[in-house]
Structures are given as C-alpha cells and as structure tokens.
Amino acid sequence: MTMRGSRFVSHPADEQPVIEGHEGAEYYDLMTAATRELLIERGFLEQAEIDAVVAKLEAPRAEWGALIVARAWLDIAFKTRLLADGVAAAAELGFSIKEAQLVVVENTANLHNLIVCTLCSCYPRSLLGQPPWWYISKTYRARAVREPRQVLKELGLEIPPDVELRVHDSNADMRYLVLPMRPDGTDELDEAALAALVTRDAMIGAALAGRESRQALGGDASGS
C-alpha cells in the first residue's frame, strides 16, 4: 500500500494542528535557525540528515493506527497478537515502531481505556503522528489521572457510571494504543471502510469509533 510504502515521504502541506503554540515563539524560531547553522558549520550534522528526520516526523498519521484497529476487528487471530505485542503486530502490517513498546488496550462494553502521559507527552508518534494539542497540555496531563470522567466530558465523551474507566500513564519506554469497540451496524463494511471510522481521538480513548463520535468530539482542524 502506498501509505506504508511512503513512510519517509513528507507531507509538507499537512500542518498537523496539534502542537502547543506560544506568543513569543519567534525567539525560538531564531534560536533554532542559529543552532542549525552552527551544527552544520561545525560538522555535527548535515542539512540532508535534518531533512530526513523532518520527513519521518511528518509521515506518520492516525490513519495508520486506524488500519491496525480495522484489521483487529476483522481478524481475531491478529487481534490476539496485537494485544500480546503491539510492536510485532504493527510490523506485520508494515509499520515500524522503534521508540518504545506499544501496549494495546481493548475497550469493551464494561471497560473504557484512556491514555495520558503525565510526565511529558509520550505518544506513539511513529505510528499516529503528533498528538492533539490538548494531549500535551498541562491541564490534560494533570487532570486525566485525577478526574478522567470529567475530563472526557469536557472533550465531548460521557462514560456511563457503570462502565469501568482505566487510565494508562505512558512513559519513555511504553506507549499505548486504545483498541476501540467496533460500532454496531458495521458488519457489511470492509477493512478500509472500517478504518475510516477510527479517529486519532478514539485511539487515545477520548472518543468512540464511528461517525457520530467523530463529530461530537471536534477539535481536529484537519476537518475529518
């Protein structure tokens, strides 16, 4: 598939709308430009090496994770392998996750999973791309472990009181992916159509899979 084959192709037109901004960012823009010039002049890096990493940063996208979810919905043996070893199962579909282990947690009718990184902003970037801005915000990092139901409500998702809510705190060596529940009424859909129901937020646990939840959560400037 072209998506997997184009792992190192950058998508410069796709400004992923997810990174924390700051009024005074011009200072760091300038500092980064100065640092880049000096690193190259002194032989620590070449421009091509920087460009290659930028392309790797730009390539991953939530649609890659959605394909893994859709496959797991359709193939019970794959799902079993995915829950046992996320990195190995992702590799079966051509996705290379090198930065950490990938722990996949499954939502059920009685259990909902939510992902956070309280210390930093750990996230399976090499699979899903950049996290949403709220994910790296201090308010989410602080509150998701203390009052997750309220936080989810603010993000547009209400978890019924009788459903257990489990919050997973990521770290440098362990990243998480939520395997959302397959929506009802999707028996006729093929893998690509199923994958289209899986949003980035659903794989964090901040939304459910399916068109309705996609609209309810919003906050995704890609407009999808």
Binding site: E15, Q16, G24, Y28, A34, I50, V54, T118, V151
Partner: protein
C-alpha cells in the same frame, strides 16, 4: 506525595483548569528543532532524549511553566550543546544577533522575545 521529591514536570493529579481545545500548526522551526535532536542522537549519540528531558525537567520551574512544549525542548537542546562543549551559548546568541540584524529585528535574551525594529 511529598513535593520535596516531586519534580515540577510531574503534574499528574495536580489541580488544573479546563482542558484547552485550541489547536496550533506544527511549525517548521519546531520540526527542525526536533529533527536536529533526533539526528544528533541517531548519528552520534551526542544528545539523547533522556538527556533532553533531564535538562528541561531541571532547568527551573519558571522556565518550564512559561515555555511551550517545543520551546522547552529547543531551550534544553542549546543548554545541552553548551554543557557538552559542542556549541557554547555565547556562540548561539552571537549567531542569533547576526541573523536578527540581517532580518531587521532585535533579540531580547532576558525576556526571550523578538522585537521588530521600526
């Protein structure tokens, strides 16, 4: 939990305001800053992610709280390059001044801001 043993970056469970839903583009300088750090790591292990985190988790609470996510990382990168004797902070600041002059802007290092010259 004792705050004596708790770093300022360890915010899990602390009180905080509503989850902000604003969105921002992934700016070119943010990508370049991150890419330089990764390239230095993979090429020669000169700057690892663990070192970068240690740096911005210890460079002071005020700085941590006033900088955005990528600003913290960009700041930490220059601190590490200086610590390791690879590129001094003075050299980076000198280069920033030279580049600013060429662009018709001025740099305020105390406030970490850029001012446009009239």
């Amino acid at each position: 939990m004792s705050d004596v043993l708790r770093g300022y970056h360890d915010v899990g469970g602390r009180p905080a305001g509503p989850v902000e839903r604003t969105v921002h583009p992934f700016l070119p300088w943010q990508k370049v800053s991150e890419a330089m750090r990764v390239a230095l790591d993979t090429k020669s292990q000169l700057v690892t992610l663990d070192e970068l985190r240690r740096c911005f988790e210890s460079f002071g609470e005020d700085l941590y709280n006033t900088l955005g996510f990528y600003e913290r990382r960009a700041e930490a990168l220059t601190v590490l390059l200086d610590e390791k004797g690879l590129i001094s902070r003075a050299d980076i600041q000198d280069r920033m001044l030279a580049m600013a002059m060429a662009q018709g802007i001025s740099v305020n290092f105390a406030t970490r801001s850029i001012e446009r010259l009239e």
